[in-house]
């Protein structure tokens, strides 16, 4: 099923590339956090693949840490990867052109939410990893832009009598762990954090989203301009519900972190049920009352 129009994703990213210094603050912030998480892993990763690299934030941050010598930036947008330092390739995460068992670490910073086939993309990322390679990705979670989504929905219901898909569907935390397992990762870990950005005005937020290359690319979105009245009402709703004393508004970005390992014999394996030879009660020295003398 095609949810996202990938050609539109590409066009939005191409258009956003020149202004990334100005609008890319959220990508830069999450890239820093991602690099810190890589620092915490007790392993070296000589060769790294960055899926959906935007302008190459991670190719600037990662080399030199954890034995990382090469970061390959890949993105759907040529204008984005052209800004990345070092090795770069234009590719579609849904058709990853990387040989199996070839990289030590796959990272992805706020890009996989535009992929139609997330299980397929995760599977291809896992296949690209060498055994015992590590995968770490930040995705936008379901709480992202909830204020904007609610304000738009209320305005549309009021003025147009129905909803159109304006804000991307995001991954649900509860599904994320299962997705990782399904893609063949061992020891999958999922956690979330919330970043709240305060804006002078809801219109500034909408402008920023466009600047980040994150405007709507849902396939079934309504083509053409939104009704001016609907947008104005949405802005009013946003201000009414969320503005602080000075009229500033919050925007929630929920980051879902996905981590997992490409399977390897050295990793802990669960034993087969019933294979234990020693009673747990013996080890703990706690015998059930009925057995004690």
């Amino acid at each position: 099923m095609k949810i996202f129009d990938r050609a539109t994703v590409r066009r939005h990213r191409d258009r956003a590339a020149p202004g990334l210094d100005h609008y890319g603050f959220l990508f830069a912030e999450v890239a820093e956090r991602l690099a810190e998480r890589v620092d915490d892993v007790l392993r070296d990763f000589p060769l790294v693949l960055d899926l959906g690299s935007h302008g190459g934030d991670l190719a600037r941050l990662l080399p030199g840490r954890k034995g990382i010598s090469t970061v390959i930036s890949c993105d759907l947008s040529e204008a984005m990867v052209a800004q990345a330092p070092g090795a770069a390739v234009v590719c579609d995460e849904e058709f990853l052109p990387i040989a199996p068992n070839s990289v030590d670490l796959v990272v992805s910073n706020l890009s996989l939410h535009w992929v139609n086939d997330l299980p397929g993309a995760l599977l291809q990322a896992r296949a690209a990893l060498k055994p015992d390679g590590f995968f770490l990705a930040a995705l936008f979670g379901g709480e992202t832009l909830k204020e904007l989504r609610d304000s738009l929905a209320a305005a549309e219901i009021e003025l147009e009598g129905g909803l159109s898909p304006r804000v991307s569907p995001f991954v649900d935390v509860r599904d994320a762990g299962a997705l990782l397992s399904r893609a063949g990762f061992s020891m999958p870990v999922v956690d979330t954090e919330t970043i709240t950005v305060t804006y002078e005005h809801p219109l500034k937020l909408m402008n920023d989203l466009r600047g980040m290359g994150e405007s709507n690319a849902v396939h079934e979105r309504r083509k053409g301009l939104s009704r001016r009245e609907t947008l104005l009402t949405a802005v009013e709703n946003y201000l009414d519900t969320h503005a602080d004393d000075e009229g500033r508004v919050p925007a929630t970005f929920q980051i879902v972190w996905l981590a997992g390992w490409a399977p390897h014999d050295s990793q802990p394996q669960p034993k087969a049920p019933g294979s234990a030879t020693v009673s747990l009660a013996d080890v703990l020295g706690t015998h059930p009352p009925s057995c004690s003398s």
């Binding site: 060769l47 090469t70 090795a87 770069a88 390739v89 234009v90 052109p97």
Partner: protein, 65 residues
């Protein structure tokens, strides 16, 4: 940003495969293309960046060498 034209990173060349067939690619430095004999496609390299998109590839005609 740098004056010298970018060349494809050798480590990248080593691990690239055709996104369609997942088969091996041959590098044509003259034409600046990566050729996938299995898929019958040639992917362009622009300024050292391989463009590994199926809809950006050139269709190879006839029998490839």
């Amino acid at each position: 940003m740098s004056e010298a034209p970018r060349t494809v990173d050798p480590k990248l060349l080593e691990i690239l495969v055709c996104p369609l067939s997942k088969g091996p690619l041959t590098y044509d430095p003259q034409a600046q293309e990566l050729i996938s004999p299995q898929a019958g496609l040639a992917y362009p390299i622009r300024d050292g960046i391989p463009i590994m998109l199926i809809d950006a590839a050139r269709q190879l005609d006839g029998e490839g060498a």
